[in-house]
Structure formats: structure tokens, C-alpha cells
């Protein structure tokens, strides 16, 4: 019989698989994106290559923009115009229900993986500051829709070249970027709720039931949209930046 000298609590986990792989990859990709986005925002240069505007700087709303979308902020603003914008998509992703899973697991190790012990000794979840602020996610969703409208406007402007209507690789890059960010935004759990999820009875509101059903379908792939749109928006900035720096040239289809 057992010698009763041990307890299960001595094991951090009994899992034998590579449970650490997923949090490690999230740290690499999400951390890498965060570093690149901060660097790109600090550059305050090479974000416009006619007719393409980098999504990190869109909409460009200060007077010091290389390509002003909407002149809301005067010349007193002398920092990078990206900082006027990036807090919205940054806040939307930071409070997103999927990203919460990803970074709580990988950056906070709370828990690092299922059935693997938390790194922290005590835990209060989202009941206290600062994590109680996760509850404002829907407001970031509303603000992100405004940004999204401008990204579609930028995608339309990407067909307007100095010599007239046309299409280049950058046009496709910007259109795909706006489409992926739309899928990510509209598959959001808060969107699912405000479009009908708050109801207990759908039969009196068939339009809301259809909207909720459609968004529920999108929501099943929210994680995939989150990653693909994140990588693509970074690549879009890289493409516009390389064009603006003259490192590459845009291939025109017509």
C-alpha cells in the first residue's frame, strides 16, 4: 500500500505532451507583432506610398500627416500620427475574448496550459483593476468599426493612381487587409451579443435572430480571423513601408 509520503500537489503537471509549445508560439508571434507595431509607429515616416496608406496610420487625422485623411488635429501634435489611432485596434485586440485566452496563457501563465499549474500564487481573475477593464470590450468594438470604415475607404483609394483608375499588388493587399479585419471585427463575441445574443426570445425579432445566427457562424472562426488579420495588417505596413522607402516597386496590373 502507499507510503502516504506524497501528494499530487507536488507535481506542476502530469502532462507528457508538448503543452509549452502553444504559449511559446503566442509569445513569439504576439510579442513580435507588438514590438514591430511600436517600432513602426515611432518611425513617423514611410507610411504613405501613393495611393497606399499604411493601416497603422489610418485614418491619418493630424496636420503633420504625410497623407491627411481627416484634419481633426492641428499642427500642435508633433508626435507620430499613428499614436492617435493605434490605441483603438490595440484596445480592441487587448480586450478581445480570444486574445485574452492567448495572452493569459502565454504571458501571464494563468494557466500556461490546461491542467498545468498557474505561475502566480494568488488569483483574482477579472474582478479587480486592471483586468476588470476587460468589460469595456464592446466600446472598443464600436470604435473599431469607425477605423474599419476608414480602412475600406483607403482600400477604395488604392484604386486611384496619379494617372487614373488602376490596380496594383498594393490594392489587393489593402483590400484583403480590410476584408480580414472586417471578418475579425464582425466575428467578435460582443458583436454577437449586441446583435441579438442579449435576447431570450428570438421569434418576435426574426431579423435579430438572422443577424445573431450569422455572427455565431463567423464567431466559430474568431481565433483564426484574429491571427490571420493580425499577421496581414503587419505585412500590409511592411509592404507600404518598403514601397515608400524605394526598396521595392509596386506591380501594376492595369
Amino acid at each position: 500500500m502507499a507510503d502516504k509520503s506524497l501528494t499530487l500537489d507536488q507535481y506542476r503537471t502530469l502532462r507528457k505532451d508538448n503543452w509549452w509549445m502553444e504559449p511559446l508560439m503566442v509569445v513569439a508571434v504576439l510579442g513580435g507583432f507588438g514590438i514591430y507595431a511600436t517600432w513602426a509607429a515611432l518611425q513617423n515616416a514611410n507610411y504613405y506610398a501613393a495611393p497606399y496608406l499604411s493601416p497603422f496610420y489610418s485614418p491619418c487625422i493630424s496636420a503633420n500627416c504625410a497623407h491627411v485623411t481627416l484634419p481633426l488635429i492641428g499642427s500642435w501634435w508633433n508626435l507620430s500620427p499613428a499614436f492617435l489611432i493605434l490605441w483603438v485596434p490595440g484596445g480592441f485586440r487587448a480586450t478581445c475574448y480570444y486574445y485574452r485566452k492567448a495572452y493569459y496563457r502565454s504571458f501571464f501563465q494563468s494557466p500556461p496550459a490546461c491542467a498545468v499549474r498557474d505561475a502566480a500564487k494568488s488569483y483574482s481573475g477579472e474582478t479587480r483593476f486592471p483586468f476588470i477593464l476587460q468589460n469595456i470590450h464592446r466600446y472598443f468594438f464600436y470604435l473599431s468599426l469607425v477605423i474599419l470604415a476608414f480602412l475600406w475607404w483607403d482600400a477604395l483609394l488604392a484604386f486611384r493612381f496619379p494617372d487614373g483608375f488602376g490596380m496594383g499588388v498594393g490594392t489587393i493587399v489593402l483590400c484583403v487587409n480590410a476584408a480580414l479585419l472586417s471578418l475579425f471585427s464582425f466575428s467578435c463575441n460582443s458583436c454577437r451579443h449586441v446583435c441579438g445574443g442579449y435576447l431570450n426570445s428570438f421569434h418576435r425579432t426574426p431579423s435579430k435572430f438572422k443577424a445573431w445566427s450569422f455572427i455565431s457562424g463567423l464567431n466559430e472562426k474568431h481565433m483564426q480571423y484574429a491571427w490571420v488579420s493580425l499577421v496581414w495588417v503587419g505585412l500590409t505596413d511592411v509592404y507600404v513601408r518598403l514601397l515608400a522607402m524605394g526598396v521595392i516597386s509596386d506591380l501594376r496590373f492595369f
Binding site: A2, D3, T7, K101
Partner: protein
């Protein structure tokens, strides 16, 4: 899979402590982990304690951790392991051990008692209550729960922080609360309880409950997150609160 020997490490002990004991035993084709535990019990360790009942993944009795992952032993096939692999079987870690693989899950029954029961609307003029298919489809998913408590076991809020148990009901009961809150005929208001006594805010959406659910209930996306959004409506969103004063949500 022809009959072959497997190496099992099974936790033996009680509330005071224990250890992993090694067993080498023959496994036949089509067997599951619970079959092997029963074979150990029959041939090598007659005093091995294990809770089981249906052997069909429907009673939720044989919950344990197989190679560290919360699983139903009756639904874990032996041919999913590599030949020669040592298979570790331990009790659910979140609950106090009674003996060997049997744990005291009474925490869950205490939490169940805290939830106000279904309270239906008054009957319509023809003496009936009506529900529409599109209204009831959403809560049907929650009724698949077999109360195996694997979601409770894997939830780090109580698994790794025993002190949170009084303030947190756990994913199984968020599923129960969601099935009642979203029910088209129910009239009870449980939002204060969901936020305070059930401790929904402790959940940080890491989705382990969904990963281990043997009934594939989308616990996080369909129960917990919608409840969190309803808590926001009531307690954190001033605009939704204002609009709520002027409109009914068909409750």
C-alpha cells in the same frame, strides 16, 4: 490491437497522501482505460478504489486524469497511446481525495444548491406555455451536460487556488446558469448572483473547460462569454443600462 502488456502508473492513496504504483497488465483489442483499471482491480489490486457506472460516457462517474489530462476513463481508448508508453492515471486534482481514484465532489452539489430554480411565466389565456424552436435551440446544448465535473476539475480558478472555492461556482454551473438565464420562459433574475456569489469575473476565458468537455459543449463561447456580456449590460455599460430602462428584453 492484439493483446499486449502495458505499463500503468496508478495513484494509490487517500487524503493523507499516497504514491504512484506500477502495474503491468495485458490489454485486449478495443479496451479503454477503465477496462484496464478494472483488470488491475480484478487481478493485482483488489482494494483499488474507482468510481464508475455506465461505461458509455453518459453517467460522468469515471472522471480522472490520464497522462495528466482530465478525461473520462471509459471514453479513453488504449489504442490512442503509443506502444510501450507508460500510462499515468490519477484522480481529479481539484477535489479532495477519498481514496485512490475516487474524489469527494460534494463542492459541486453545494454550488448547485445556490442556483435559484426555473420559474416559468404565467400560462397564456388558453392554459398553455409556448416556446419556439429558435428560442429553445440555444439552451438545448447546455442540457447535454452529464455532470462529470471535468470542467470544474480543469478550471485553474479553483484547481490552483483553493481559496477561491467559496467565491466561484465554476464552468459547470455557468452552463446551468446560462441555460436558465437564456430560457424563453424563465422569469427569475440571477444576474446579481452570477456576478457576485457565482464569481463570473474570476473566469479569464482560457477555455480549458471547453477543451475537456466530453459532450463537446461550447462552454466558454456559448455560456460563459454570453453571461459576461449580460453582466456588462447590467453593471458596466451605462448606455446598455440606460436603454434597458426603456425596452424589454423579452424576458
Amino acid at each position: 490491437m492484439a493483446e499486449q502488456q502495458v505499463h500503468m502508473r496508478v495513484w494509490r492513496g487517500d487524503a493523507n497522501g499516497g504514491e504512484f504504483k506500477d502495474y503491468r497488465i495485458a490489454v485486449g483489442e478495443g479496451q479503454v482505460v477503465l477496462d484496464v483499471i478494472h483488470a488491475i482491480q480484478a487481478q493485482q489490486a483488489g482494494d483499488l478504489a474507482v468510481r464508475w457506472n455506465c461505461k458509455a460516457g453518459k453517467c460522468g462517474s469515471c472522471s480522472a486524469e490520464v497522462n495528466g489530462k482530465p478525461r473520462l476513463m471509459c471514453m479513453t481508448r488504449m489504442n490512442t497511446f503509443e506502444p510501450g508508453e507508460t500510462i499515468t492515471v490519477s484522480p481529479m486534482r481539484t477535489f479532495p481525495i477519498i481514496r485512490d481514484l475516487v474524489t469527494d465532489v460534494s463542492y459541486n452539489y453545494q454550488k448547485a444548491k445556490e442556483i435559484p430554480a426555473f420559474k416559468p411565466k404565467a400560462k397564456e389565456s388558453d392554459g398553455t406555455r409556448r416556446m419556439y424552436q429558435e428560442d429553445i435551440d440555444r439552451v438545448q446544448e447546455f442540457h447535454k451536460c452529464i455532470e462529470c465535473f471535468l470542467c470544474q476539475n480543469v478550471c485553474h480558478v479553483i484547481r490552483d487556488h483553493e481559496d477561491n472555492k467559496p467565491a466561484f461556482s465554476g464552468p459547470r454551473f455557468f452552463v446551468r446558469l446560462a441555460s436558465l438565464e437564456m430560457h424563453p420562459l424563465d422569469t427569475n433574475d440571477r444576474m446579481e448572483l452570477i456576478k457576485q456569489k457565482a464569481g463570473l469575473g474570476y473566469c479569464n476565458i482560457t477555455k480549458c473547460c471547453t477543451e475537456v468537455c466530453p459532450e463537446n459543449i461550447h462552454i466558454t463561447d456559448n455560456a460563459i462569454i454570453p453571461l459576461k456580456e449580460r453582466v456588462v449590460d447590467r453593471f458596466y455599460d451605462p448606455i446598455a443600462k440606460l436603454m434597458g430602462l426603456f425596452s424589454s428584453k423579452n424576458k
